[in-house]
């Protein structure tokens, strides 16, 4: 039960995007289609879990004043693994995500979890934390991409929804990303204040 809590907290209570407001660049940039969003979430979760494990393993032998460069090097190594794997096996995805794959390195969620959680907790807990945060990130990405793809391109997973309807292109380009996330945060605030009563 206690372990389950580590996973659950990333989904809602400490959702990295909606509550903590970090990791915004990939969130807004890759949510033009649901499949892009899911690939991005998968890549980020992989890096997140792996770096959490490694950071947790070496947490007692890293001198504290040089820990940040070490964490960044660990994260960057896993990002390179993801980059090369995608390039080899999923070239289309690699093309579509483009610059945002190398930019996983500077996704504050990963460094933030390494610093705040993995460097202080056991390996197993760090895995669960990485999984929870990854799911929270992926879930938010999925919702954003769902609205943007259906409204902005009239498609879902690349299949046309209503034939002959002209989509609202604004949703698929930059402004649509800002609007969708803004409205999502509004809805979340409204939900929270209703709960408080």
């Amino acid at each position: 039960m206690d372990y389950l809590k580590e996973v659950i907290k990333g989904l809602w209570e400490r959702n990295p995007i909606l509550v903590l407001g970090i990791g915004l660049c990939p969130t807004l940039a890759v949510t033009t289609s649901v499949s892009n969003a899911l690939w991005m979430a998968l890549a980020t979760t992989f890096v997140l879990i792996c770096s959490n494990v490694l950071v947790s393993v070496i947490r007692n032998i890293v001198p504290s004043h040089i820990r940040i460069p070490i964490f960044i090097t660990i994260i960057a190594s896993f990002v390179i693994i993801v980059e090369l794997t995608l390039k080899a096996f999923q070239p289309d995805v690699y093309q579509a995500l483009g610059i945002f794959i190398p930019l996983i390195v500077v996704n504050c969620i990963i460094l933030g979890r390494a610093e705040e959680f993995a460097s202080r907790n056991s390996i197993f807990r760090s895995i669960l934390d990485g999984l929870g945060m990854g799911l929270g990130f992926g879930g938010t990405l999925f919702i954003l991409a769902f609205f943007r793809e259906t409204l902005g391109a009239n498609k879902l997973f690349g299949y046309t929804l209503i034939p002959g309807m002209k989509p609202a292109t604004i949703m698929i380009i930059a402004p649509g990303a800002f609007f969708t996330l803004g409205l999502m945060l509004w809805a979340m605030n409204a939900l929270k204040s209703r709960k408080r009563g």
Binding site: C25, A29, V79, A174, F178, G182, L183, W186
Partner: protein, 199 residues
């Protein structure tokens, strides 16, 4: 001829492909440091400085270290280390040379390492293929500088609007982050107007 090319690069990075509002890079500081005008200006100046320097050094590393040794796949790790140490170096130098400037920029410098626009401009410089061109180095530096200017313009516009939004009468749930995102969306629409520009 070269001057014209450089001018085109500058205009397109500042306005047409604005890093924040049309490429969506560097959003964390864009929303985090845009509450007050003066801190926005400080952050903007620090970003211009670091981006220009980072473009220059990552270009050198890529062209004279990674390409000759055939290890271009190490690009990401090399660039992030260069940027992190550069930021550290800049911080120490400014602290020694000009304490007043350090006072103004000091707190923003550590934040810049995780600003994805800086790594973004370094990676984009390489992907545009500047490394193989004759005047690649100059173009790289101009693109880095332009990206910094574009970031600063977006940040200042946002800060100016948000200072006024503080006093605006809007629904309680919309206050803070949600309205900032909607404002950013409107700004992005405005910048969309530049995308039809032909130079």
């Amino acid at each position: 001829m070269e001057i014209k090319v450089l001018f085109v690069i500058l205009i397109s990075t500042i306005l047409i492909n604005n890093y924040v509002l049309s490429q969506m890079l560097g959003l964390c500081p864009f929303l985090g440091v845009s509450k007050k005008m003066d801190s926005a200006l400080g952050m903007g100046l620090a970003v211009i400085f670091v981006m220009t320097m980072a473009s220059f050094f990552t270009f050198l590393i890529y062209k004279y270290l990674l390409i000759p040794w055939h290890v271009t796949y190490l690009r990401t790790i090399a660039f992030i280390l260069v940027i992190a140490s550069l930021v550290q170096l800049v911080e120490m130098t400014i602290e020694k040379i000009s304490p007043t400037l350090y006072q103004a920029l000091g707190i923003f410098l550590p934040l810049i390492t995780t600003n994805c626009a800086v790594l973004g401009v370094a990676v984009l410089n390489i992907e545009t293929g500047f490394a193989t061109k004759d005047l690649g180095m100059v173009m790289t530096v101009v693109q880095g500088f332009g990206a910094g200017i574009g970031f600063t313009i977006a940040l200042l516009l946002m800060a100016g609007i948000r200072e006024r939004l503080e006093l605006a009468d809007i629904p309680g749930n919309l206050k803070g982050m949600p309205i900032s995102f909607i404002t950013a969306g409107l700004l992005a629409i405005a910048f969309l107007g530049f995308s039809g520009m032909k130079i």
